[in-house]
């Protein structure tokens, strides 16, 4: 199944020729967790601070579903 992934704020350095915020599809096995996805695309787990699935905060053991929007962030803040 496919999920739609976006990486931000410097995480793009772990990917080949991807820009921050640029959506890309990733084929994953049924039952894959967010942690599995990170391993598959090659972003070290300790570099990811906030993970949003369809705009909601989820832990790394969250099991992904078809078509979900995955947004990955390092530590960010402001205000």
């Amino acid at each position: 199944m496919l999920v739609e992934v976006r990486v931000f704020s410097g995480l793009e350095r772990f990917l080949d020729q991807k820009r921050f915020g640029e959506p890309f599809s990733v084929e994953i096995k049924e039952g894959s967790s967010l942690r599995d996805l990170l391993e598959q695309i090659g972003i070290p787990e300790d570099q990811v601070f906030t993970t949003l699935i369809d705009g909601k905060y989820r832990e790394l053991d969250y099991i992904l579903n078809e078509g979900e929007r995955v947004s990955l962030f390092p530590p960010v803040g402001g205000g």
């Binding site: 976006r6 931000f8 704020s9 410097g10 921050f20 915020g21 601070f49 906030t50 949003l52 369809d54 705009g55 909601k56 905060y57 929007r69 947004s71 962030f73 390092p74 530590p75 960010v76 803040g77 402001g78 205000g79």
Partner: protein, 720 residues
């Protein structure tokens, strides 16, 4: 003879008159500042002198070095010296003669560096009003040991140094401004009248080497909300005030007439100086002129034309170390309060930054070092903020579906990435700007940035809330347009958030189209001209909405709602509704636990836990705002149990107090009680602690949520 040398010396005292001379001599000074026009005048005098054969140097007259002393003494006795626009000491006259003798050129006769003597010399112009307190006017050394309050009465044109009353000694920043406003300002007064006061105070730790402690509080009754206001700014002023031993300055009364004034403060004292030559100028030019006159290191607090025209969303600004007048105490219209008192600028000259008195320096140093480590070790303070600045939030707030788009119509904007912090960093670096920059010396988070614009000017910084209000809020996806709108606000002296909310309301009304950057720029340019539309824009979102029949006005207590929608970041919704400040994201920044995974996690789309979250954050924020620490230390402090005790340790080491972390909570609660008491006296009730109706009736995409926290729950926020 040597007229131009004397002219150069006198320039500072009567710049405007020199431009008159330039005109009289047939020079074209169109478009020049007074200062530049004065230079033209002096050059013209030089040419005229040469034309009519006046000797250009004393050597040509056979004067020797040994003659200078007698000549200077005679000059001092000359009747003309009494009417000279700038009083000269014997040394000054000697200096001018020496330059003339050696043909060194006039540039050396007057230097604007503080080391030259211009600081204390303005006391001769009879229109200047000097602070006469002897304790104060001699040396800062004694004064800074015993902090003072500087009171400037604009009705009487009187400056006074007062001892700090016992009850104010342990207060600083917001704690002090709010307490003084409650104590001294009648809550029902006209915000732009003679009974309102503008109180400016550095935080408790400002001016020491506590990291990131240079925040400045500006307080008064807000002409925008009608309630109490504390607006908080970075920049270099707070540290300088603290190093001059100034606990607070109070601007009060109203002057008769239409003349403008500025206040100059240094270790010698303070004085009120006529400033009609600065009136009508933008903040960038005003700051540049003041730095030119008084030295590049001075801090300049100023207002723009919006403040002069008493617009209800005018801000008070001050500069960063580079001289950019972009560090705003922006919200709530305090720029109009300063304008009502006819104060165009306050120049603070103090060479020290980190030398405010500390009772136990060793203990303080250890605590400050520990606090630095706490900040640097935290992922947001140590890595996130220093990499991309606050606008790194654009993408995460968009992904979270909480980015108010098209005047709060939905929670995601397709063009968000185009105006994001990542994009900003990319463009800034490409154009030779900076992706990271400190707003004041000693800040280790360095969340500011320097964005070079296509026209060659620089906007520094572009903060997230500004990028949001001029970007997604107007459906504009062009960072150059955002920067331009930001720059206009900085220059004319408007709060960016209020201006962006107001333009959103105007777009809703069809006055400008959504997504049209040029139309937005054109509308905002009306402010400086003072046209009817410009004045409506400067009056803020609520007035603009009423003027154009818009019911979807995103504001609480008359103040525009910032960059996080209350329907999908409900903790912030509670803060917007209840803070005494009017809608203010910083007053209880629930985005932390709602979205940023700092200080725990509370689901932003649910109502559970939001009241408690907002309450705790509002209390903590009020306390942080009293210390002069940047609110962003809260990211680390919320996650590290050592954070609050270390702040308390720094305060105890500095003041010899024995506070505990519980006292910090009590201080935060006390500040909120004081502010709510003022608002109650001003006529505010529970009905003012509510969000606009449309947030409770319109579903918000993508989470399809409404603001559903009950009124009774909102009324429990301040149950302490």
């Amino acid at each position: 003879m040597n007229g131009f040398l004397c002219n150069r010396f006198n320039l500072i005292a009567c710049t405007g008159r020199f431009s008159d001379i330039a005109v009289a001599m047939g020079e074209n000074i169109e478009g020049l500042s007074f200062r530049a026009a004065a230079d033209v005048a002096i050059d013209a005098i030089k040419v005229l002198s040469a034309d009519v054969g006046i000797p250009s140097g004393l050597k040509e007259l056979g004067v020797k070095e040994r003659d200078l002393h007698v000549m200077a003494q005679n000059a001092m006795k000359d009747a003309c010296s009494f009417t000279n626009p700038r009083t000269a000491t014997l040394e000054d006259v000697m200096d001018i003669y020496r330059k003339a003798l050696n043909n060194e050129g006039e540039a050396a006769a007057f230097s604007s560096t503080p080391s030259q003597k211009q600081e204390g010399e303005n006391n001769f112009t009879e229109n200047n009003y000097k602070c006469t307190n002897d304790n104060r006017s001699k040396k800062a050394k004694g004064a800074s040991e015993v902090p003072k309050i500087l009171r400037v009465n604009m009705t009487a044109k009187e400056l006074k140094w007062e001892d700090v009353p016992e009850k104010y000694l342990a207060l600083g920043g917001r704690a002090l401004t709010s307490q003084m406003v409650l104590d001294e300002v009648p809550a029902t007064c006209e915000a732009l009248g003679g009974f309102n006061k503008l109180v400016i105070a550095p935080g408790l730790l400002s001016g020491t080497n506590a990291p990131s402690s240079g925040r400045l509080s500006v307080g008064g009754k807000s002409p925008l909300t009608g309630g109490i206001k504390e607006a908080n700014a970075g920049g270099i002023t707070s540290q300088k005030l603290a190093n001059l031993g100034i606990k607070a300055m109070v601007l009060e009364g109203l002057p008769a007439g239409n003349d403008w004034y500025m206040i100059k403060i240094n270790s010698e004292g303070a004085e009120l100086i006529p400033a009609n030559d600065l009136a009508g100028k933008g903040t960038y030019e005003t700051t540049a002129i003041c730095r030119q006159r008084y030295g590049e290191k001075v801090a300049v607090i100023t207002i723009g034309p919006a403040g002069e025209m008493l617009m209800a969303s005018a801000g008070v600004t001050n500069n960063d170390s580079d001289g950019n007048s972009s560090r705003y105490a922006g919200r709530g219209g305090l720029g109009a309060v300063m304008g009502s008192k006819k104060i165009k600028a306050i120049v603070v000259d103090c060479p020290k930054t980190f030398d405010a008195p500390v009772k136990d320096p060793e203990r303080f140093k250890a605590a400050a070092k520990k606090f630095s480590k706490i900040l640097l070790d935290h992922p947001v303070c140590g890595q996130g903020l220093p990499s991309y600045g606050t606008n790194v939030l654009m993408n995460i707030i968009n992904e979270a579906g909480a980015l108010p788009t098209r005047n709060f119509s939905r929670g995601r904007f397709d063009g968000a990435n185009d105006v994001s912090g990542e994009k900003l960093a990319e463009v800034a670096k490409e154009r030779g700007g900076k992706a990271t920059h400190a707003c004041h010396p000693g800040c280790i988070m360095r969340c500011s940035n320097v964005y070079p614009m296509p026209d060659g000017k620089v906007c520094a910084p572009i903060e997230y809330e500004t990028a949001w209000c001029f970007g997604p809020n107007l459906e504009i996806n062009d960072l150059d347009v955002v920067a331009k709108l930001n720059y206009i606000c900085n220059d004319v002296g408007l709060d960016t958030i209020e201006a962006g909310c107001t333009l959103g309301v105007l777009a809703e009304a069809g006055v400008i189209p959504f997504g049209d950057g040029e139309a937005a720029i054109k509308a905002l340019e009306e402010v400086e001209k003072g046209t009817s539309l410009g004045r409506i824009i400067g009056s803020g979102s609520t007035v603009a909405g009423k003027a154009f029949g818009v019911t979807r006005i995103p504001a609480v207590k008359g103040q525009g709602i910032p960059a996080y929608d209350p329907r999908s970041c409900k903790g912030n919704g509670v803060t917007y509704a209840t803070t005494p400040m009017g809608a203010d994201h910083t007053a209880g920044y629930a985005v932390t636990a709602n979205i940023l995974k700092v200080g725990g996690h509370v689901d932003p789309t649910k109502s559970e836990g939001q009241v408690e979250l907002s309450r705790n954050l509002q209390v903590a924020t009020a306390a942080v705002d009293a210390t002069g620490l940047c609110l962003f230390v809260a990211f680390a402090v919320l996650d590290n149990p050592e954070g609050v005790p270390t702040i308390v340790e720094m305060i105890n080491a500095q003041y010899g107090t024995e506070l505990t972390p519980d006292d910090v909570v009590a201080l935060g609660q006390q500040i909120l009680k004081v502010e709510r008491e003022f608002n109650k006296k001003a006529g505010f009730t529970k009905a003012d602690d509510r969000l606009p109706e449309f947030f409770t009736t319109e579903e918000f995409e993508p989470h399809n949520t409404k603001f559903d926290i009950k009124d009774e729950e909102l009324d429990e926020v301040f149950n302490f």
